[in-house]
């Protein structure tokens, strides 16, 4: 099987297993419900950071697409880390708002950069 696909599946299965294990630990009374949420959300943030980290590694033949992958990778990796950190350390309300804002900002940066690249490419081809 493709190595990339294995790591993608591992993340998916890992988060489900982590969620089930945390829920079980809560049922047994080892941790609180809030901690279960924080553990799963932190893992989700780390997953976003991991996929952002790998993004520039995916070889794309077009030079502009490669630039977009690099910027997208940086913005998603940083967004994911901020998301994970907020879910570990910040109050729940701040984690929800701040974490979501970080991920949305990361997506907007990527989209904005792609659009700027596209307009630059159009200007070049018009010359």
């Amino acid at each position: 099987m493709n190595k990339e696909l294995v790591s993608d599946l591992a993340w998916g299965v890992g988060i489900v297993v982590l969620a089930l294990a945390s829920s079980y630990a809560r049922k047994l009374g080892y941790i609180e419900a809030d901690t279960v949420t924080r553990i799963v959300m932190c893992a989700t943030g780390l997953m976003v950071a991991w996929f952002g980290n790998r993004m520039p590694k995916k070889f794309v033949p077009n030079a502009l697409a490669r630039k977009a992958a690099r910027v997208g990778g940086w913005s998603m990796a940083l967004s994911g880390l901020i998301y994970a950190a907020l879910w570990v350390f910040a109050p729940k309300q701040v984690a929800v708002a701040g974490g979501s804002a970080a991920v949305i900002l990361g997506i907007l940066v990527t989209i904005g950069y792609c659009l700027s690249l596209r307009s630059k490419a159009k200007t070049h081809s018009a010359r």
Binding site: K57, R66, R70, W74, A77
Partner: protein
């Protein structure tokens, strides 16, 4: 990961990666920036390829190198570069008159 550290430990290889940040370059264009023999440069390219930090693409008779760094590797390169870890910076060839 040890291959990545090995690749980044050499200043010539780090400079190759810095040059590739601006865009893809052929092996010849990259070699022109350094005062070392072609076989030495080929060995450097091989180490970078082995560490999966660059992607080599054949185009006719020349080989075009593309940067292929993950975010973590890019951050590591920036960190190592700013602290100048390893030997001193390789002698760069004077820019050719165009």
């Amino acid at each position: 990961m040890s291959q990545v550290f090995k690749a980044l430990s050499d200043p010539t290889r780090r400079q190759v990666l810095q040059l590739l940040r601006k865009g893809p370059l052929t092996a010849g264009e990259l070699s022109d920036h350094f005062d070392v023999s072609k076989p030495t440069m080929s060995a450097h390219f091989a180490v970078l390829k082995e560490a999966d930090l660059v992607h080599a693409e054949k185009s006719g008779k020349s080989v075009i190198y593309h940067l292929k760094l993950s975010v973590l590797e890019e951050a590591l390169l920036g960190f190592v570069h700013s602290f100048g870890v390893g030997a001193e910076k390789p002698k760069a060839r004077k820019e050719k008159a165009r």
